[in-house]
Amino acid sequence: MSIGEALAAFNASYPDAGGTASFVGKVRSDNDVKALELTHYEPLTLPGMEELAQAASEKFGLAGVLAWHRVGVMTPGQPIVLVAAAAAHRREAFDAVDFLMDHLKSASWFWKRERRGDGWHWIEPRDQDRRDLARWK
């Protein structure tokens, strides 16, 4: 299922919600990035994402929530992550997507490394990512 199909299906699933906000994150090609690899630890990663989606749903009173995250090797332009939130009003939908992304970026069980001209480099969350996450505490 493509991202467009997923978003169309998600939208159609919550006709009574006033709005759906979404975000698609892709591999960027800056810093000479040739490829990105995401790894996970399934016994923690999947339950963690389910808890995160449930937390967002309760915190923002969502009608529905979608959180997809790929693992494996991806090249620039390819999608890594898709989140969507359906709510009565746009503010709750926006905030939920923001919350989900902040937690997927720096508080979910994924490890990311990128391959540049000189080999693989592990990536840690930026200070900005940590500050973004701290807003929800």
Partner: protein
């Protein structure tokens, strides 16, 4: 049956392997002696977590894994 130790993310590079198997009970002290000094130094850092049987330990020094258990060594995450 043994305890399987998994090296996740950058710890895999540091360990030079995906996982290793050890026989019998594995506690915190034995874990530090079992892995390489470089990995042991990482494990002592607060930002590195340990999971046993699919649960992250609130106190990693309380690790107590038996034969058949999976112990995952979890460095700082980065997703999205």
């Amino acid at each position: 049956m043994s305890v399987r130790i998994l090296f996740l993310g950058p710890l895999r590079d540091l360990a030079g392997q995906d996982d290793m198997q050890v026989e019998g009970t594995l506690d915190w002290d034995r874990l530090l002696q079992t892995v390489s000094p470089l990995v042991a130094a990482q494990l002592r850092e607060e930002r590195v977590n340990i999971a046993c049987k699919g649960r992250v330990l609130a106190d990693k020094t309380a690790l107590l894994a038996e034969d058949g258990d999976e112990v995952a060594l979890l460095p700082p995450v980065s997703g999205g």
